[in-house]
């Protein structure tokens, strides 16, 4: 059994987020002008982590290499397209949905039915 106890984060998550945002802005404000622009640009980047199947990641990397663009740019492009199509009713998720066994989501998507690259 792991004997090192984990410190619980008891601060209201919204308050923690506000504090971290304000501290980030103060850190940037204290930088010399030459570094402020880059720091602001970096801070405004919205990074997310997603679970991707390895073969999909590989296919994205290969397309990005061929087109000489970044994987991030390519994924963002595809996602915009996908979201617009979904909002236009062109994407049907129901055939891929199956009931989830975890409490957080009602369904999971069964991607085995998707056509693979």
């Amino acid at each position: 059994m792991d004997k090192s106890p984990n410190r619980r984060n008891v601060v209201d998550p919204a308050v923690a987020e506000i504090l971290s945002d304000m501290e980030k802005k103060q850190r940037i404000a204290s930088l010399p002008n030459s570094k402020k622009v880059k720091a602001r640009r970096d801070a405004s980047r919205h990074k997310v982590g997603l679970d991707l199947p390895p073969e999909l990641h590989e296919a994205l990397r290969s397309i990005a290499d061929r087109e000489r663009i970044s994987v991030s740019g390519l994924v963002t492009f595809y996602l915009y397209r996908g979201v617009v199509d979904h909002q236009a009713g062109k994407v049907e998720l129901s055939p891929f949905k199956r009931l989830s066994r975890c409490a957080r989501f009602e369904y999971v998507l069964d991607l085995t039915k998707l056509e693979k690259p």
């Binding site: 601060v11 308050v15 987020e17």
Partner: protein, 256 residues
């Protein structure tokens, strides 16, 4: 029934604005709510567009039934108004047999889902009596050293109340939040380090919140899209809308 007290010994920290906003917010969600003005300034009535009146004085000193002194100000929202005579009511409380129990006795079994006490910026017998009757205390504070000292004073009073066997839940609400000043960050950080999860998301400084009482309107009526209500657009929760969610948890018993 849940009784919430809005208290800070320091004046001008947003107690009445918070009390009026939360009381009207609860009323709008269908909770039958009573807002009691324990401050001789009588600003609860003023902020909701009705006249100040010696409601609390009549209730305590003249022993009138509560139904005689409540004023219905909005759907589901009644108030017990106050005015300078509230000061005299305090004297009645002081000479009564059980001064610390008087508020609890007056407001129990009134049939409300929630009662909110808007306290005066002082520590007197009415204050202790209201704390004794309460389930939860919300302490609004500006993010400056003097206002935060007021928080400590309220918590000391709560400690005295706890010694009498009544344990209260509490939260601290940073108000007049100005995200551009260094002092705000320093004080918010200090507050969070000391009180951890008791600190709720802040209410942004907002001119509209100062204007609303002049029109006798709550913030939900006067400026529902203002920063004080919906918060800064920073992608994080703040403003009275986020506070309402937390208050609902208190009132519905999920926290208490």
């Amino acid at each position: 029934m849940t009784i919430l007290t809005i208290a800070n010994q320091k004046g001008g920290v947003g107690k009445t604005t918070t009390a009026v906003t939360l009381a009207h917010g609860l009323a709008m969600t269908g909770q039958k709510t009573l807002l009691v003005d324990l401050d001789p300034q009588g600003h609860v009535a003023f902020a909701l567009g009705v006249d100040k009146a010696p409601g609390l004085y009549r209730l305590i000193a003249e022993e009138e039934p509560i139904s005689n002194v409540i004023v219905n100000v909005r759907e589901n929202l009644d108030i017990v108004p106050g005015d300078k005579k509230t000061e005299k009511a305090k004297r009645t409380v002081v000479v009564s047999h059980f001064p610390t129990e008087i508020i609890g006795r007056l407001f129990k079994n009134t049939g409300y889902d929630a009662i909110i006490f808007d306290m005066a910026p002082s520590l007197d017998v009415l204050h202790v009596s209201a704390l004794m009757a309460s389930d939860w205390v919300l302490v609004p504070t500006k993010l400056d050293a003097m206002a935060i000292d007021g928080v400590n004073e309220v918590l000391r009073s709560m400690g005295e109340v706890a010694e009498r066997g009544h344990h209260l839940g509490y939260s601290i609400l940073p108000t007049f939040f100005d995200r551009t000043t260094r002092e705000t960050v320093v004080q918010l950080k200090a507050l969070v380090q000391t009180f951890n999860g008791h600190v709720w998301p802040p209410i942004p400084q907002d001119t509209k919140a100062r204007e609303a009482p002049a029109f006798g309107m709550s913030l939900w009526e006067y400026c529902p899209r203002s920063p004080a209500v919906i918060g800064y657009d920073g992608g994080y929760e703040n403003g009275y809308t986020s506070i309402m969610r937390r208050v609902m948890e208190v009132v519905c018993g999920q926290i208490a």
